[in-house]
């Protein structure tokens, strides 16, 4: 059995934030997952997570919404 990866931890964080309905935490958790996927060059998966992060940040009025939007725009996703 493989050791738990960074993605398993992020999944757990994301699920917990969904459970708590915590928008800011969701934006951070999705953003962290997106950055991790981007770091390993998985741009499609990263853009899925950046989208999630962007939407929750936008809803909560968090300044990092702009950073997520910028990455998506760079990749022709927004």
């Amino acid at each position: 059995m493989a050791a738990p990866s960074v993605f398993d931890t992020l999944d757990a964080t994301i699920l917990a934030a969904h459970g708590a309905g915590d928008g800011a935490e969701l934006a951070y958790a999705y953003g962290a997952a997106a950055d991790a996927h981007a770091a390993r060059g998985a741009i499609d998966v990263a853009c899925f997570f950046y989208t999630q992060a962007y939407i929750f940040a936008l809803e909560a009025g968090l300044p990092q919404a702009e950073r997520y939007a910028a990455v998506l725009r760079q990749n022709g996703r927004l």
Binding site: A46, C47, I55, L62, A65, L78
Partner: protein
């Protein structure tokens, strides 16, 4: 009234007050007429749906069920209060379930399309496939929230859902003119300055009762002891509003003789005058030198009405903590008066199950304002 009305009952309502009947039972008990009245008397008019004080800060939103129509009022970043249909442009999901503060954007709980406070569609996640957030077929510029024509007067939020009515200031020009001296800031003192009464009655009966002073000596004997029937006059503005006024208004006093400060710059008439009008269809207003109130009639069903009563002061000094007792006394006094009216509106509603009731007859001297409201109803329904 030269209009040719083919409906016999409506034609009888449109007779001069001395001959007219009131609206017949069907307007209080028949669901078909309730639906027609929702359209003709509410959606095509300027109807009250809420209070601006309920969305005090930028970003505040409050959903409202307006005769089954899902609406939401939102105060924008620019401080402007707007009213929208409370639905997403994607699949028509209800957007906002509870009153609250929107920090950034309105996110639809279904597929998370996001809207700005002014209704603009800001984001459409995954609309072009996972991680792709645009699609050429989805033009964000044309898919903002659907705004409804709205206007705030005396803190009441009015809407014209159909978008076909003339501007609010035009439709209600006479009321605005009549009370222009009171066109100054209103101060609401919070939860203790409002209450809601639920009545088992059609909303029209609350209007009809509010308009007239005929019932005062019988239903409000306490009120009548200092504001006698002969000190009242009728207010009749055909097609717009009707009500009553008194020439002997006396200010409420506290134990130490304290009173609420007056509105600034009022004419001498208002030293002793107070006026009460029903602004058709569903807003009942009262003005006095030192305070005002508004009653929003929420038609929660054909035979169920919620009366939302809110009291406002004209001077900010009335909100001071040393005026709390007097404010509480004022709220309590009005509550007694409006509670005294409940048995008559509910009793008239039950009376409208009587098979042989013909709509009733009016006292030409005392019931003019009520008849005027019926004329307005009949005129709208016949058009």
């Amino acid at each position: 009234m030269n209009q040719h009305v083919t409906d016999e009952a409506l034609a009888r309502v449109l007779q001069p007050v001395a001959k007219a009947n009131g609206l017949p039972n069907r307007h209080y008990t028949d669901p078909h007429w309730f639906d027609l009245e929702a359209r003709k008397l509410f959606f095509e008019q300027w109807a009250g749906i809420g209070f601006a004080k309920d969305v005090p800060e930028n970003g505040d939103a409050k959903p409202i069920d307006f005769l089954g129509q899902p609406l939401v009022m939102i105060r924008g970043r620019d401080g402007t209060l707007r009213v929208f249909q409370n639905i997403c442009r994607h699949r028509g999901m209800i957007l906002i379930e509870k009153p609250g503060r929107i920090r950034g954007a309105i996110r639809c709980p279904y597929h998370s399309w996001c809207y700005d406070l002014d209704g603009a569609l800001k984001a459409t996640p995954h609309v072009g496939g996972p991680g792709h957030n645009t699609h050429e077929a989805v033009d964000r510029d044309t898919l903002g929230l659907i705004e409804v024509a709205s206007h705030v007067w005396r803190d009441i939020v009015f809407v014209n859902l159909s978008g076909t009515a003339a501007p609010f200031e035009q439709v209600n020009a006479k009321a605005l003119e009549r009370w222009k001296e009171f066109d100054q800031p209103l101060h609401h003192a919070g939860p203790g300055s409002g209450f809601a009464l639920e009545v088992a009655s059609n909303w029209k009966l609350a209007v009809e009762n509010y308009c007239e002073s005929y019932h005062l000596p019988w239903v409000h004997p306490g009120l009548n002891s200092y504001s006698r029937l002969e000190d009242h006059y009728n207010i009749e503005e055909p097609g717009a509003f009707s009500g009553q006024g008194t020439t002997v208004y006396r200010q409420l006093q506290g134990d130490a003789g304290e009173t609420f400060e007056d509105a600034a710059g009022l004419g001498s008439k208002w030293e002793t005058a107070a006026e009460y009008i029903a602004l058709y269809p569903n807003v009942l207003l009262g003005v006095h030198r030192d305070h005002s109130f508004a009653i929003l009639l929420e038609p929660a069903g054909q035979q169920r009405t919620v009366e939302h009563v809110e009291i406002y002061y004209h001077a900010e000094s009335a909100l001071q903590s040393d005026m709390a007792d007097l404010r509480a006394k004022n709220t309590a006094l009005w509550k007694v008066v409006f509670e005294e009216d409940i048995f008559v509106v509910e009793g008239m509603q039950r009376g409208r199950s009587a098979l042989h009731f013909d709509g009733g007859r009016f006292s030409p001297a005392m019931d003019g304002p009520t008849h005027m409201f019926h004329r307005w109803v009949a005129t709208q329904l016949a058009s």
